[in-house]
């Protein structure tokens, strides 16, 4: 049996190697692959380097436009400190800012309670505030502490959350959907198509007519119904999307199976009385890896699109988690005041989809036997 299995592998390796070789000499395909890897790396590594958690709300910096300038701006500090102190019934008398530190003098009618510092620390602008000295029986105090400087490269959303951090986390969700839902569709589609093609006859008829009927269903509707039915579980969302997109894969795999079934190496395996199941898994399936990989690359953008569409409608991942579709939906709702909320997520989204589509096309060309 080992020998029989080995006869198939040089062909597979040869096909795959030659395809990779062709891809390596294709600058457009490589650029698409590079862009995709870069986006994935940024999305999965970026959040570790970002100073902003994706769900941290900065009340003081709502709908800040994208810029390299650090916040807070000097002129807003006094008002911010005044309102923070006012919560503890303390009045701000003077404020001086030097470097990253501030120094303020405040008075109150009662002796100043040190707990007022919590209000100061809770403001997004300040941290590590302390009472440097008190005078006047505690009614006048000097406070000092640090000014908390933060940057929002892509601005913030309507809740004051850093957009870049949200895009990166949303990218993780979108890319994870791309991988997991594609795998789901791959498993179902390959199993369905291979079994139908390999067994043939009535089973084949029945299985492929089922696929025909499923094709005729309004699929966007079905996936919406599935999502509404399964609740808002992210894992189930992935599965539901994958379970929708397997039909094309099943058709293609069936066609490949029919083609390979009549080849000499399959007859040779039969003559050596290799079990039927083993012929399928060892001789037929490995020979269509190229086709399946190419088709999976073209399925990934479809499932990412579907997830984003659902999230756009508010049916996908739920806050505080997010995805590119959800971010684009928010951006679409605030065109007037904050176009950056639309432009940045849309740019990431379009770049990813375009890279995936180009890569899929190039891989298809690379694997195409007619092109060799």
């Amino acid at each position: 049996m080992t020998d029989a299995a080995l006869t198939a592998s040089p062909l597979r390796g040869g096909l795959g190697r030659r395809a990779l070789e062709r891809l390596r000499r294709d600058p457009v395909g490589l650029a698409a692959l590079g862009l995709l890897l870069a986006i994935a790396a940024v999305c999965f590594v970026g959040p570790w380097l970002s100073p902003h958690p994706h769900d941290r709300v900065y009340r003081s910096y709502v709908l800040v436009p994208p810029s390299l300038q650090p916040y807070p701006q000097e002129e807003t500090l006094e008002a911010a400190l005044r309102s923070a102190l006012a919560r503890g019934r303390v009045e701000l008398k003077s404020l001086s800012v030097e470097g990253g530190r501030f120094r303020a003098v405040a008075t109150s009618e009662q002796p100043i309670d040190p707990r007022v510092l919590r209000y100061v620390d809770r403001a997004d602008e300040f941290r590590n505030a302390r009472l440097a000295e008190t005078r006047d029986g505690g009614r006048t105090a000097t406070l000092d502490g640090e000014v908390s400087r933060v940057r929002f490269l892509m601005g913030t959303d309507a809740n004051g959350r850093d957009l870049l951090a949200r895009i990166l986390v949303g990218g993780q969700v979108s890319l994870a959907v791309g991988v997991l839902a594609t795998l789901t569709s791959l498993v179902i589609g390959v199993a369905w198509g291979a079994i139908a093609g390999f067994i043939g006859g009535r089973t084949d008829d029945l299985m492929m007519r089922t696929v025909d009927v499923l094709y005729a269903l309004p699929f966007v509707f079905l996936v919406i119904l599935l999502v509404v039915a399964f609740g808002r579980n992210v894992a189930l969302l992935f599965l539901a999307i994958g379970a929708i997109e397997w039909l094309d894969m099943a058709r293609i795999v069936r066609g490949e199976t029919l083609r390979l079934k009549s080849r000499e190496f399959v007859q040779a395996a039969r003559a050596l009385s290799v079990a039927e199941g083993r012929i399928l898994t060892r001789h037929i399936l490995p020979n269509m890896i190229g086709t399946v990989v190419v088709f999976a690359t073209l399925t990934a953008p479809k499932v990412i699109l579907l997830e984003s569409f659902l999230s756009f409608l508010g049916l996908g991942v739920q806050a505080p988690l997010t995805s590119w579709g959800a971010l684009i939906a928010q951006g679409a709702g605030s065109l007037q005041g904050a176009p950056h909320l639309l432009l940045f997520p849309a740019a990431f989204f379009i770049a990813t989809l375009a890279a995936l589509n180009v890569l899929g096309d190039r891989l298809r060309d690379a694997f195409d036997p007619k092109e060799r």
Partner: protein, 306 residues
């Protein structure tokens, strides 16, 4: 030909049946019900409501009733839009979707096919490269990205067109939604036409036509006719999708069409509205698939003899 048509129409019956059954089952097994409003209803009121809509019957009875009702052409009363039947809702909203979708369909067909044919005729030229790249981008970017971007550029930044609304049917209000719907389809038609025309221009009868000295535009017309197959078969589902409204475009541009009803229905557990939308779309798909088969036969005489 008639036999062919009858066979196609007969195939539509099990398909529609499967669609209705699957949607019915899925919808009924969805947690929640049509009367789970924000404020809880008194149990007695809920009982009465359920009895009024016959939701207290066993599921199989409800299913049988729904099928019987459907055969009479009645889609039933809506649960969330009280005082309206689903048919009335569609009668009000469908004209909006048909107008926008129909205009988008004609636009995308005209522009997409011309661009694709031009690119194929001048294969390898700069025009071809531009069309191919833009078409590749166009099929990649979905309407829920294109629509807000168009709105941002033409309504907010340039101020040329209104951002949303129907505006008593004024032309200016229709431009952005039509373009947003049409752009991805233009890209798809251009791609299909280009590939099919390149293939068709290689065929023997085109060489014969050239050898006879036919003018180039007639040769191209012949090639386009042969290239019509893939375009027409894509046209069927695309037309059904465009004419039954897009939830995204209708939401973004505030158009009161039928596209929104499915999502609203599913969220409100408005069983009748969801089922009605499913039936509406399925009927459109089946109808356009039959039309596509007829067009196929018209374009390619070989099919007529099957």
């Amino acid at each position: 030909m008639t036999a062919f048509l009858v066979r196609r129409l007969l195939w539509a019956i099990p398909t529609l049946f499967a669609v209705v059954t699957l949607s019915f089952v899925l919808m009924r097994f969805t947690p929640g019900g049509p009367f789970n409003a924000d404020q809880a209803l008194a149990p007695a009121v809920l009982e009465n409501l359920k009895r009024a809509y016959r939701l207290d019957q066993p599921l199989i009875v409800q299913y049988r009733d729904y099928l019987a009702q459907l055969l009479r052409g009645d889609l039933g009363p809506s649960y969330s839009y009280r005082d309206f039947t689903v048919t009335e809702l569609f009668a009000r909203a469908l004209p909006y979707s048909l107008q926008i979708g129909g205009a988008a369909l004609l636009l995308s067909l005209a522009v997409g096919v011309s661009l694709g044919a031009l690119a194929a005729k001048r294969r390898g030229s700069a025009l071809d490269a531009v069309v191919t790249t833009l078409a590749g981008l166009g099929v990649t970017v979905p309407s829920f990205v294109i629509a807000p971007l168009l709105s941002l550029v033409f309504a907010v930044w340039l101020g040329w067109l209104p951002a949303a609304g129907w505006g008593e049917g004024a032309l200016a209000y229709k431009i952005l939604p039509v373009v947003a719907l049409a752009l991805p389809q233009i890209a798809a038609f251009a791609r299909l036409t280009r590939a099919a025309t390149i293939e068709a221009l290689k065929a023997d009868h085109i060489r014969t036509a050239r050898a006879y000295g036919l003018p180039e535009w007639r040769v191209t017309a012949q090639a386009l006719r042969a290239a019509g197959g893939p375009v027409v078969s894509y046209l069927g589902p695309a037309a059904a999708g465009l004419l039954t409204g897009s939830v995204v475009v209708e939401t973004i541009f505030g158009i009161p069409g039928v596209g929104r009803y499915f999502v609203l229905g599913a969220l409100n557990r408005d069983y009748a509205l969801v089922m009605g939308t499913v039936v509406l779309v399925a009927v459109f798909i089946v109808a356009f698939n039959v039309l596509v088969d007829l067009a196929y036969a018209a374009l390619d005489p070989r099919i007529r003899h099957d």
